[in-house]
Subunit: 418 residues, 2 copies
Amino acid sequence: MKKAAGSIALLHAGQLLTLAGPRGGRLGPAMRELGIIPDGGMLVRNGVIESVGSSEEIARQLPNDIDVVEARGRVVLPGFVDAHAHPVFGGNRVDEFELRAGGASYEEIAARGGGIRSTVRKTRAASEAELLSLARNRAEWFLHCGTTTMEAKSGYGLSLAEELKILRVVRQLNETSPIEFVPTFLGAHAIPEEFRDRPDDYVDCVVEEMLPAVVRQNLAEYCDIFSERGYFDAASTRRVLGAAKAAGLKLRMHADQLTNSRAAALAAELGAVTADHLEQTDTAGIAAMKGAGVQPVLLPASVYSLGSTRYPQARAMIEAGLAVVLATDFNPGSSPTPSIPMVLSLAVTQMKMLPAEAVTAATINGAYSLGRGDRIGSLEPGKRGNFCVFDCEDYREIAYWFALPLVHSVYVNGNREV
Amino acid sequence: MKKAAGSIALLHAGQLLTLAGPRGGRLGPAMRELGIIPDGGMLVRNGVIESVGSSEEIARQLPNDIDVVEARGRVVLPGFVDAHAHPVFGGNRVDEFELRAGGASYEEIAARGGGIRSTVRKTRAASEAELLSLARNRAEWFLHCGTTTMEAKSGYGLSLAEELKILRVVRQLNETSPIEFVPTFLGAHAIPEEFRDRPDDYVDCVVEEMLPAVVRQNLAEYCDIFSERGYFDAASTRRVLGAAKAAGLKLRMHADQLTNSRAAALAAELGAVTADHLEQTDTAGIAAMKGAGVQPVLLPASVYSLGSTRYPQARAMIEAGLAVVLATDFNPGSSPTPSIPMVLSLAVTQMKMLPAEAVTAATINGAYSLGRGDRIGSLEPGKRGNFCVFDCEDYREIAYWFALPLVHSVYVNGNREV
C-alpha cells in the first residue's frame, strides 16, 4: 500500500525551480526557462501543491500545524521523471562489461548468445518474488538519485507467461514503492532463442497472444518495440504498434540506435508519443518528428556506457523546436546507471545541451512524454508534491559536480522518502 | 587532531581484494592480479592490519574485546588513493561549464581571462579559514566516494603568500580530516595576470622565492608543473623541476595534456616520479617513461568533462609494462568530480582497461606513486587499516553501475569514518 499523502511547507530554497509554464511540453528555446524563484517557498497539502512563491509569501499563509522544511542554501526542483527504463530483470551483465573492455562489441556479444538473451535466461529463471526484490532494491537507487516517476518496460521475458510476470512485478512495485512506475509492454525487445529461425512466428506471438493478454489484464499503458536491423524491421514494427494502438495502448519506439533505418520517421507515421535513442537519426528524421509532434527521448548514458562517441543530435532537435526528453535507459547491458544527475552531466558535456535545457528534459518534458504533464514535472499549484532538495546553491552544479551524490532529500506526495 | 587508531575485525566479505604482492608498483600484466579472497576476513589492531585471510582463519584468532564488522555479500578493498587532485580553491566554474556547453573551448575561455585565472582570483579573495572550510566539505565528498589518501596540489595562489596560504590549508586539512593528504607545490600552474607580459620573471619568482619558502616551512613533498604551450615550456620546466629536486622535493609533472610537446620524455629525463595526463603522448613518450620508471597518472574524468574523446593510450602503456595510475584530477575547471568509482567506469568504458587493472591503478599503484606503497594501497599485514566496503557482490560492479553511490562504509586506521 502507498503511504498516505503528506503535508509540508518548504521555505528559503536558494533556488526553487518551478518549471512552471503553459500546458504541453517545452518546445526548443522554451526549454531554457526554468521559472526560478530565489528564496523560494512552497506549501503542499495532502500530497498536492497548494501554493508556490517567495518564502515571504508562503510564510504569510503558513498553517499552524504544518511541518516546515528549511532549504536555505539549497536547490529545490521537481522530482526527476525518467521516461525510458528497464528496471525489472534477473542478474547483471558484468561479465560482458569486462568482455567489452577486452575489445568485444555489443553486437558480437549478442551474436554469441550474450546480450539481451543472457538477461532473458536469468529473468526467466527468477521467481516473481525474486524479481520484485531485485527491482525494489533498484527503485531505492533511483529514489536516492532524485527520481520520483519512471517508466518500467517489460522485455526480458519474451514469452506470454514471462512478459506477464514482469508486468505484474511492475504493478506490485507501483503499489509499494514511493516511485510511480508507468508500465510499458516491450514484448518485441528481441527475438527469443526458441524463435531464432522463425522471427515472424514470434511477431505473431507478440500480436496475437501477448498483446491481448496485457491489455485484458490492464498491465501496460504503452507499447514499445526495438525497431532495428536484426531485431524488428519496419514491417514488424508497423504490425506490432498498429495492433497495440488498436488495442488502446499508446506508443513508444526504440528508433535509429545502431543504424539509421528511418525509424524516427516511422514513429511519426505511426503516431508514437516518443521515439527513443535516435543516435543515427538525420535531419529528415528530425523534421518528421517535428511534423507529428513526436517527443525524442535521448539516452546518452547508453552511448557512454557502450564506449561510443556517436551521441544523438540534441542541439539540432532543440533548434528544430522539439520537446526533447532525457532518460537513463537503465538496463543491465548498455546503461547500468539509475542516475538522472549523471545523464544531465552527459547531456551538457557530450551533447552540448545547456544545463537548463537538460533539467527541463528530465522533468516537465519527461512528464508529458509519459502522459502525466498535468500532474507532475513542475512545481505548480494542483500538481503532486514531488520534489528533490540538492546540496548546492546553483542548479547547474547538479550536472557540474558529476558522479557525486548531492541529493539532500527527496519528497513524494509531500512525504520525505530520502 | 587525528582520531586515535582503531581496532576492528572484519568477517565474511564476499570478495576481499587484498592487492597483495611484492614490493613496488604492479607493472603491466600484474595489474590484473587483485589477490581476491572469497569469504575473506581481516584483523586490524591499533590502526594496523595484523592479519588477512579466510574468515575461518580470522575467526580462529579473534580477540575477545574486538568489534566485528559483518561484510557478507559485500566487496571489501583498500581505500582508494587519488594521486592527482587540486582540492583547495575558492568558488567554482559553473559559469564556464555552461559556456562550454554553448560552444566555447577551454582554451578560448582561458584566453578571455577565465579558466585557471578566474579560480586564482576567487582563491586569493578567500581567507585561509574560508578555504579550509570549503576544502573540508570536499574532503567529505572524497571520503564518501571511498578515497582515504589523496594528493593536494597548490597552484591557485600563484604568489608567494597565496601559495603558502594554500599549502597551510592542506596541512590543516591533514591534521583534522580522516583522509591523509599528500602536499604538492604547483606554483608553476599558470602565469598569473600580473606577470602576463613577463613569464620568465614569474619562473624566477617560483624558483627563487616560492620554492625555498615551501621547502623551509616543510609544506610539500612533491613539486609539479604544467608543462604545456602557453604555460611553461621545456626550458622553464627544467629550471623549476631541477631546482625543486635540488631542494629535496620529489617530482610530478602535467605532461602532454593539450599538445604532444614531448613532456613525457622530459619527465623521464628529469627523474619525475609521475607524468600526468598524457592524452597526446605517443609511443616514444611511453618508451621513455618505461626506461626511467616513470609512473603514468591517467585522468579520464578531465577528458570526459572537457567533452574530448582523446583519452590517453592506457592499453599501450599497460602493454609496455608501466605501473599505470588512475586519479580524479579533481579541480573546478576540467574535472569537477571527487569520485574514483566514476574514474574506474571511465577507464573501463572509454580506455578499455579491465576492471581489475583499473582497481590496481587507483589503489596500490597510486600508493607507490605517492611514496606510500609500503604503508597503504593493499590489505596486507603491517599496512594501515584503510578500506572500503561496497554494497555489491563482485568488485567489477563498482565500475559497472556507474554514478551510483554503492559505498557502504569506509574505514581509516581501523575507524569507521563513513
